[in-house]
Amino acid sequence: MSNDVAGQKRSVYEQIGGEPAMGAAVELFYRKVLSDERISHFFEDVDMERQAAKQKAFLTMVCGGPSAYTGKDMRKGHAHLVKQGLNDMHFNAVAEHLSATLTELGVARPLVDQVLAIAASARADVLNR
C-alpha cells in the first residue's frame, strides 16, 4: 500500500477507481509502450493477455494498490532485460507513458506525481543496481 507516500490516507489506486480503473489504464499504457520503438521490444510477447496481466500488476503497484511485488521480485523479474540492455533511457520512456496514460484518464496532476514518485523509487531494483 501507499503508506510510503507521506501523509496519504487513501492510495491513488483507491482515489482513481481501483481495479476497473486499472483495467482501463492497462490497454492505453500497453498501446503506448508497444508503439514506442525505443522500448517496444521489451514488451513484445506472443501471449498478449499474459503481458497485459503483468502490466496491470505493475500499474496497480505504482498506484499504491494491492500488490505482492517486492523489491526482490522487481530485481529478479528484470534481470534478463538488464542483460539485454535495459537502462535509464528505457526506464524514463516507460515513466513518460505512465504519466501520459494517467493524464489521459483524467487523473489530477498531484496524483500523477505521487504515482511517478513510487515508480521512481523502483528504479534501482528494476535496473538491478
Binding site: 490497454e27 498501446r31 508497444l34 506472443v46 501471449d47 497485459a52
Partner: protein, 338 residues
C-alpha cells in the same frame, strides 16, 4: 529425478523432459499433435502426484477438477502416476461425406454417435483408431446434423493424406474436445465484426459468421479470406451467396499473387483490411489460420484500438514430429496463444 507411472510401469524422465516426450521415448503410444499446449490431443489424467499448473493452462474447469492435464506441457517435479484420457472423454463419430472444396481442401462431415456440445469456431481433436490425432476447427452450426471440418492436404501429412486418399463414408473416428474460445457470443448485436483468416482458417470463420447471422447479429460482419494464390480460395460461391442474402455481411477474398480476377483483391491481407476498414476501434475480431499472420494482425488491431477482450485469435499450429532425443527439443516451440 522425475518419474511417470503408466499402466503399472515406471518410466524415468530426462531433465526438463515432458511427460509426453518421455512416454513416447519409451515406446508408449500417446495421441499428440501440436506439442505446444494448444490442440489438447495429448490430454491425460493424473491418478497420483502433483501436476504443475502450466500443464493445465487452457483446460476447462470440468477437466482440471478431475486432474486432467496436457502431457506435452507437463514437466513434473517428482513422481506422477498417469492414465490416458479414456473413452469417457471421447465421442465416436462416423464420416457422412467427404467432399473436395478445392484441390487442396477437403470438407469432412462427421455425425457424432452421441451428444456433442460445441460452438462453431471451436476445435476438436480427431483420433483415428490407431491413435493418430490432429485438431481441426468446426465450420458447422449446432443445428446441423453433421460436424463440418476443412482439412488442408499437407505434404506428407498422415491424417490429411489418409482423409484425402483412403477414408470412406461410414468410417468411425473419435472426437475429443471441443476446445478454444474463438466463437461468437451474443449480447452486442450491433457491434461490427471483423473475421480474418488464411487457408483453412476459413473453417472457423465460416462457422462464426453463419452462427452470428443465425443468432440475429445486425451489425456489419466483414469476412476477409486470404490465400497465396487463387487455388487456395474456396467456398467462394457459398460466401457470395451469404452476402447476397444478408446485407450486413461482406465477403472479401484476396490473394498474394496471381492474375487479376473479378471480385478478388491482390495483396497482403493486413493492407487490404486497413484499406477497407480504416476505423476499427470498438469492433470485435476473430483471427484464424497462419500463426505469423494471426499474431501480427492481433497486434495491429490492438494498436488500432480494439480491446484485447474483443480479439479472438486462433493461430493454427502445425503438428510437430517427435524429437529424436528426449530433452530440450521443445525449446523452440511457440507459446500457445489461445
Amino acid at each position: 529425478m522425475a518419474k511417470v507411472k503408466h499402466e503399472g510401469q515406471w518410466y524415468g524422465l530426462d531433465e526438463d523432459e515432458s511427460v509426453l516426450d518421455g512416454l513416447l521415448r519409451h515406446g508408449v503410444s500417446v495421441p499428440n499433435s501440436c506439442r505446444a499446449g494448444a490442440c489438447q490431443s495429448c490430454l491425460m489424467r493424473a491418478e497420483r502426484g502433483e501436476v504443475p499448473a502450466k500443464a493445465q493452462v487452457g483446460l476447462k474447469e470440468t477437466l482440471t477438477a478431475r486432474d486432467y492435464f496436457l502431457a506435452c506441457m507437463c514437466r513434473p517435479e517428482g513422481e506422477l502416476e498417469v492414465a490416458g484420457a479414456g473413452a469417457e472423454l471421447r465421442v465416436p463419430a462416423r464420416i457422412t461425406t467427404l467432399e473436395k472444396l478445392s484441390d487442396s481442401v477437403l470438407c469432412v462431415r462427421l455425425r457424432p454417435e452421441s451428444d456433442f456440445e460445441y460452438r462453431p469456431g471451436q476445435y476438436v481433436s480427431l483420433l483415428r483408431q490407431d491413435g493418430l490425432a490432429r485438431s481441426y476447427s468446426l465450420a458447422s452450426l449446432r443445428q446441423e446434423e453433421s460436424l463440418e471440418l476443412h482439412v488442408r492436404r499437407v505434404a506428407g501429412g498422415h491424417m490429411s493424406g489418409w482423409l484425402f486418399d483412403e477414408a470412406r463414408r461410414g468410417d468411425v473416428l473419435d472426437l475429443q474436445g471441443p476446445a478454444g474460445d474463438c466463437f461468437y457470443v451474443p449480447g452486442r448485436p450491433e457491434q461490427p465484426l471483423l473475421l480474418a483468416g488464411t487457408g483453412t482458417g476459413l473453417a472457423p470463420l465460416y462457422g462464426i459468421a453463419r452462427d452470428a447471422l443465425a443468432q440475429g447479429h445486425t451489425g456489419p460482419i466483414w469476412l476477409f479470406h486470404g490465400a497465396v494464390e487463387a487455388s487456395g480460395l474456396y467456398l467462394v460461391d457459398e460466401l457470395r451467396g451469404v452476402q447476397s442474402r444478408h446485407t450486413c455481411f461482406q465477403y472479401r477474398p484476396s490473394v498474394l499473387r496471381g492474375p487479376e480476377r473479378v471480385g478478388v483483391s491482390t495483396g497482403a491481407l493486413e493492407a487490404l483490411i486497413e484499406q477497407t476498414c480504416p476505423r476499427l476501434a470498438g469492433w470485435r475480431a476473430f483471427l484464424c489460420g497462419n500463426p505469423d499472420t494471426v499474431l501480427s494482425l492481433r497486434k495491429k488491431l490492438f494498436l488500432a484500438g480494439l480491446s484485447l477482450k474483443d480479439i479472438h485469435a486462433d493461430a493454427f499450429l502445425p503438428s510437430t514430429p517427435r524429437p529424436k532425443v528426449g530433452a530440450g527439443a521443445m525449446a523452440g516451440a511457440p507459446d500457445p496463444s489461445r
